[in-house]
Symmetry: C3
Subunit: 407 residues, 3 copies
């Protein structure tokens, strides 16, 4: 054949390679360590939605994968390289996310979790939603573990664990063929080592085209041969525009307690926020959520006007504890609040274990965690969701503890 033919063929291949035509009920592999697959850039699109993947370059983000799901209403950024953390959700004038002093999406290869006495995690912390866990999820400090010789030794836990800094090994998009055509972004993240936990996290973030709701549906499996402790905190972080002076958090509360003496002094206003305040030291409140007859509970963060809000719904059987982290510091230092459903509180695991808040998985056992997030764009919608919170609360008076738990 003539060279011209090959040229045309070559250019055609170039042109169409990165795109994929959508077929119903189809599975698209973006990354697979198993099959040695990694797409540098990748796009999939439907009538009013798209999923696109790119690789970030420059500085501390060099080589970081970023996937954006656009369902026509929201754009959701997910970071496979950082354990499928959700960087940001954008929808009109609403944003789930915050302005961290950490600007770039930092590659885990540049993070040293052991740095700064176990606070190295903070050098990469800028996501809207970062999972804490899985072996340990809370504060740094000494705890016991079993060494390679079978002896009990101590190790220094690091803040919020490893899972948010582990690259996903398998990433795929699945598009349901059936109505409503849910689009699912799945990632598999392994926190496994020899003589240590063998935990597999299967994450799924899914949307329906045109809807203002998305779902996180995770499964944690113990792939080891023995019983294994685990912890998970869904560390969801909100800055402007939802957070601001007089913004409020609404939750159905069985009890609330301050995490330390500093927070104790402000417990009466734990549910409302101040403007950015230079030198503000974080205040953390520990909530036992109450639930409806189906075990569901709701937390809502509304802006000051009450005409924009984000809500999250989950089952207290799955995530029985809720931490409210108030960090209304100066804008440059990170003006942010965390609303954090979890298997426990963010104390060091040693404390959590003593309090009976560290669950275990038998060999081969798994547990599922489902959270639904919704954006609310007007006063009626916001009020309706707050009413649902109040309905769960009903006439149960929240127990307000004025001193931190005695650990």
């Amino acid at each position: 054949m003539k060279p011209q033919f090959w040229l045309s063929a070559f250019l055609l291949v170039l042109l169409f390679m990165p795109r994929t035509v959508v077929r119903a009920d189809q599975r698209y592999v973006i990354t697979s360590a198993k099959d040695n697959v990694h797409q540098d850039t990748w796009t999939l699109s439907g009538e009013n939605w798209s999923v696109s993947k790119r690789t970030l370059h420059g500085g501390k983000q060099d080589g970081v994968d970023l996937i954006t799901i656009d369902n026509g209403v929201m754009q959701i950024d997910v970071i496979p390289t950082r354990g499928m953390n959700v960087y940001e959700v954008r929808s009109g004038d609403i944003r789930l996310g915050w302005d961290s002093p950490v600007d770039e999406i930092v590659h885990p290869a540049l993070i040293d979790l052991e740095s700064r006495g176990g606070l190295g995690w903070l050098e990469g912390f800028n996501e809207w939603m970062v999972r804490c866990g899985l072996e340990f999820a809370g504060h740094p400090g000494t705890d016991e573990f079993v060494t390679n010789t079978g002896d009990t030794a101590t190790m220094e836990l690091t803040l919020h664990g490893k899972i948010g800094n582990i690259p996903a090994s398998e990433v795929e998009v699945v598009v349901d063929s059936n109505r409503p055509g849910r689009i699912r972004l799945r990632g598999v993240v392994y926190e496994k080592l020899f003589n240590g936990p063998k935990l597999k996290l299967v994450t799924e973030l899914s949307v329906v085209p045109g809807e203002s709701t998305f779902r996180i549906d995770d499964t944690i499996e113990n792939q080891g041969g023995q019983q294994q402790e685990f912890q998970i905190i869904y560390h969801a972080n909100f800055g402007a525009p939802l957070l601001g002076k007089d913004a409020k958090v609404h939750a159905a509360v069985k009890s609330v307690a301050p995490m330390n003496d500093h927070a104790a002094g402000e417990i009466d206003t734990y549910a409302t926020y101040d403007e950015p305040t230079t030198g503000f030291a974080e205040q953390v409140y520990l909530v036992e959520p109450s639930a409806d007859e189906n075990g569901k509970t709701i937390a809502v963060l509304q802006n000051a006007n009450g005409d924009r809000a984000a809500s999250m719904q989950w089952t207290v059987d799955q995530l029985p504890y809720l931490t409210l982290w108030k960090n209304t510091a100066a804008t440059q230092d990170g003006y942010v609040t965390g609303i954090e459903p979890a298997t426990g509180y963010p104390f060091n695991r040693k404390v959590e274990r003593q309090a009976g808040r560290v669950p275990k998985l038998d060999a081969g056992q798994s547990r599922r965690f489902t959270l639904d997030f919704t954006l609310h764009r007007n006063k009626e919608d916001v009020d309706a969701m707050i009413q649902k919170v109040k309905a769960i609360q009903a006439d149960h008076q929240p127990i307000v503890r004025r001193t931190p738990p005695a650990n």
Copy 2:
């Protein structure tokens, strides 16, 4: 010239670039930090053999180089990115290797050796043969060293040292022009720092086409200006199919001792293996091998039937100590045994130094370590090799110590 000509030329270059025609006695550079060379994929092949190099993608293995040598009988995977460790050797139904809970070949940039109290090495541990060393090779824990100010200070050693997590700086293939046409894969790995050891490891793994034997031939050189301690353990790890219930290890033994009290209780059956056992805590035995009149010794791992085996031969002048590591844990937790010729035992270097098992290299001095590995495919071959072990043992009764060494 016409564009068509350039197009054809361009496509021809594309077509032939990654392949290389073999010439006798030739040297092929795959990686060179010195000359800024890195081949993403690369293949060299002869009549009945090939060497191919690829880059792994996805998850924790992204960017890891993997070289496979196929001599027509065996396929051997070597990992330049992880210090020229040998991932696996496959030959028909024999495999040298094991199923670690760590599935991927983890990039050293994601490994923190200081993690978990110095046990971070375990997050990447899944190779058939990983070298431990070179500054230190054994258990974590405090030892002394000389700081940048010339003072003596203490540092926390990390499990099994750094060399298995350092990318090779120079990687090349050399094909002998003379019969039998040995194919040599060479890698240079530097464990050097300012105000610390300046050790150069030159590794060579070589095969002869059609043979069931391969050789590891390493040289460690002290490139510093002063005397330098070093340690090396050849941590060779075997799982199924060789390892199984009633598999046996055969070695010519001058003495054997348990490493700790736990192992002491099982010393009478130290040479045979159990089936995978949930919750099994490792048992480690410390062997002084005896040697023949040429200083050679042999260790053999045979399967339960005695019709498959792997043997290793080395010189006790080079590697005077042998550690048997029995870890017949549940399959999911890593069912594996280590047969580990070394310059010492895997105690912390402080203990090894006191016991006189930490060798030193003068400035510019080097030491060589040669190990021959053979696969045995039938009962006759296996028995013949076991007879060689017995011939070395002769009528010398092994000294069996029933208590761990007093450290």
Copy 3:
């Protein structure tokens, strides 16, 4: 259009893509995390100068960016991946640089600063000029800091801080349109974390075509909302050919003190160098430089013959302290001297703070540091520069302290 046209177009694009034609007063972006830009290779050239960027491959340097500025007289290598450190300056038979036992330009992803009791920095140390800082810049050891809960805790500082192992987020070249057409290589390096320092370093290394002088012009800005301590040491390191037996350092000295007892014994010869000496333990001298009426001071390193030298000039208001680090060890161990203008001395920050040598930046405040370096190629030039040092010294007798500072 015919395929041939597209082919030609395609080849033309390929041909011209990496080159850029120079226009006056132009700004060229090489790396931008903000705009997701990273050039793998890049060249810009003028009449008698060029700036070229390449990516290093192989071993520990894989993925490291290296930029070489050639002004017709000097070639200067800058490492964006390692905080804009200057690897080497070459000009005829003069070299600013040294032969470290660390041969490769090590990627920060492979450096663990916490390693070896906080001395991990030494595994990548081989540059002519490496900045130490910014949160801390001196010796490792325990110091206090404020945690995420607002409490005071202790952390282990690591040797010489982080900035030299942080990839630059933004890198650009600016060419002045006005005479003399200064060529500026700018890099922005962030040392920022949540609940920690938020420091921005803007570095600029600039040359004028045909001149033997170059300038480093840095600005450190506190982007956080609160006052922040910082430290910076310009750790400039010289080996052969300038350093050698009977080489000398000339500085205008208000006072000089030994850093420890070991250095105290040799204080009378602190300004001259010995030949490479096996087992030499570093000697460090702490200098308060005196300045001329404009606040300028000068340090000169001359070779033994006095016909080659390098000088550096700076303002003592900006950098009031000068450390002389003599490490005339064996060649293989690193025969090198450091001439290090700084905001303080390289003691642990705790010591520096007590001595009042840790400056602070208010929220939004920045400080600038300008250093001019000149190469001197003959006896007249060298003598003239030494005379300038003497003119600053005038008849002020240096205070020579014979014991280390009491910390």
